[in-house]
Symmetry: C2
Subunit: 315 residues, 2 copies
């Protein structure tokens, strides 16, 4: 089967097309023909040698944790899925990666049924970003109806889903994004949108219960401390969020935690239901052929995307 | 840390106490101090070179998939568990085994909170047997209220839990067991109990909707075909259930499937709630010190146990 592998850490140019043996599903596992693979910031960080490189070890390895595809074969003991089922999931995160390829195997419970009303490209954009947004708001921040939630980088892959999930949870949602994305974010349900280029966030909002900081820079963390209520909560993606900043937040009387997504097939089923009901939309900015994974990584590193980037592993 | 390992396939005598390095939790994983490890038939089959030996590969390896213990350390991104939490689970089944040791690491979502009203030994008896019973009745057989369910080896580790879960699902439950265990099984809710030593099952019951065959021999499968309604369902544990027998069942007009348990932290949470509510009791026949794992295997291979055998990994 075709896959994108790398022999060394480095820039996008280390990604290259290889032929690998098709994996076999073990008992309790399914073999999935990948139709689309999501691209995430953790992918290019891992490619460079940070991100999950410490977990994956040295190259060669195949990147990618977001999969949408069709069950091609089931191992012994699989009862919840059958050959031909359309599924999506985040297999093996973070122990191993495998999505940038034509076939993956993983325990059946790491997948959920693909929402029928979205394409494989859209479904492949959901697992890592969707679970990140969902788990931040539920398991980490326990967002309650009526709470005021600030989301930085609200137009990004995680952000645009976090905006919609927070609305589903009954929150009042403020997002930061560049001006060109404001109307789109309001259409997704954001109550207020702040242009961080022209406006200091701490001048524009206050009395925030939960900050979901998807940038995790010194600037955004300092702003979070300024706008949070006493006893409020800052959840920051771990990349870029230093221990010092988190300690500073704690000293300022707010609960601060770094965040890393956990695989959860049941939560993925919840997300699928929200998408299938039309309550949550997933935005794919661009689909690249598998062979152009390097180009997708360059695009993602620009930081200017709206929604997600996806690799097409079929055509 | 102390662990029971084996350097070759063979009898109970290959199990030996070794010192291994304590594992470190990766991001999304927890390190659990194991207090008790359940012993299952798949353990001694794997020890001999069948069971999950095809998945684990050649020794040396540590056996065991049933764990109850206390969270000692959490990796990055773990939000649902904290240091000091009492948990139980079936980590890594069937990809790797690790329970016969003082510490294990696994993704936090492979654990659930230990029911507060049972000991670690009792909780360690629940995951593999409980999930097997639960998934057979729900995901595989879809048992509905009022259905007649026959469970063979009803007094065993899986069987005694299947009897109770089937009652919780509203079924009429018939079990097979030797006469000395009948009163106990009735106390667990069995509506009828058949002594297979003195009575032919097909003479004692009929019009069964679902047979849960935990023996999977030619005798029990033939009996299952005789007592099942047309369109009924036979679910047999895979060990001992040949493809020919399953084909014969299908030819007789009943749905027949082999079964292998799948890890599912959410289902484990359901089981914990049933146990904590006092609706389901878990029976531990005997607790062995970790150093006597070989003795526990000999006892289990006798086939005469009532409920489960457990290793104490603390004292």
């Amino acid at each position: 089967m075709r896959a994108i592998s790398q022999d060394e850490f480095g820039g996008p140019e280390v990604l290259r097309l290889v032929e690998l043996e098709r994996p076999e599903p073990l008992p309790t596992e399914v073999l999935v023909r990948v139709h689309a693979a999501g691209v995430n910031p953790v992918d290019f960080k891992t490619r460079e040698g940070s991100g999950m490189a410490g977990v994956l070890g040295k190259p060669p390895f195949v990147l990618g944790w977001d999969v949408s595809g069709v069950v091609e074969q089931v191992g012994g003991g699989v009862h919840t899925l059958a050959v031909g089922d359309e599924v999506f999931g985040m297999p093996w995160f973070p122990r191993a990666a495998s999505a940038y390829s034509e076939y993956v195997t993983a325990p059946s419970r790491q997948f959920a049924r693909k929402p029928a009303n979205v394409s494989h490209a859209e479904a492949a954009a959901l697992p890592l970003a969707g679970l990140t947004a969902w788990e931040i708001l539920t398991a980490a921040a326990h967002v309650k109806p009526g709470q005021r939630v600030l989301i930085t980088a609200a137009a990004g892959g995680v952000g645009h889903l976090a905006v919609q999930f927070a609305k589903q949870l009954g929150a009042y949602v403020v997002g930061t994004a560049s001006a060109g994305k404001h109307e789109w974010l309001r259409g997704l349900g954001a109550d207020e949108v702040i242009d961080y280029h022209s406006t200091a966030v701490e001048d524009a909002v206050a009395e925030i219960d939960v900050v979901v900081d998807l940038i995790g820079s010194e600037t955004t963390s300092t702003q979070a401390l300024a706008v949070l209520k006493p006893g409020g909560q800052l959840v920051a993606v771990p990349s870029g969020t230093s221990a010092e900043l988190l300690a500073k937040a704690r000293a300022a009387g707010v609960h601060a935690t770094g965040f890393l997504v956990e695989p959860d097939g049941h939560a993925l089923g919840e997300i699928a239901r929200l998408v299938e009901a039309g309550d949550v939309r997933v935005e794919v900015e661009q689909v690249f052929p598998l062979t152009e994974a390097a180009e997708a990584h360059r695009r993602m590193a620009s930081g200017r995307t709206r929604g997600k980037l996806v690799l097409d592993t079929i055509s």
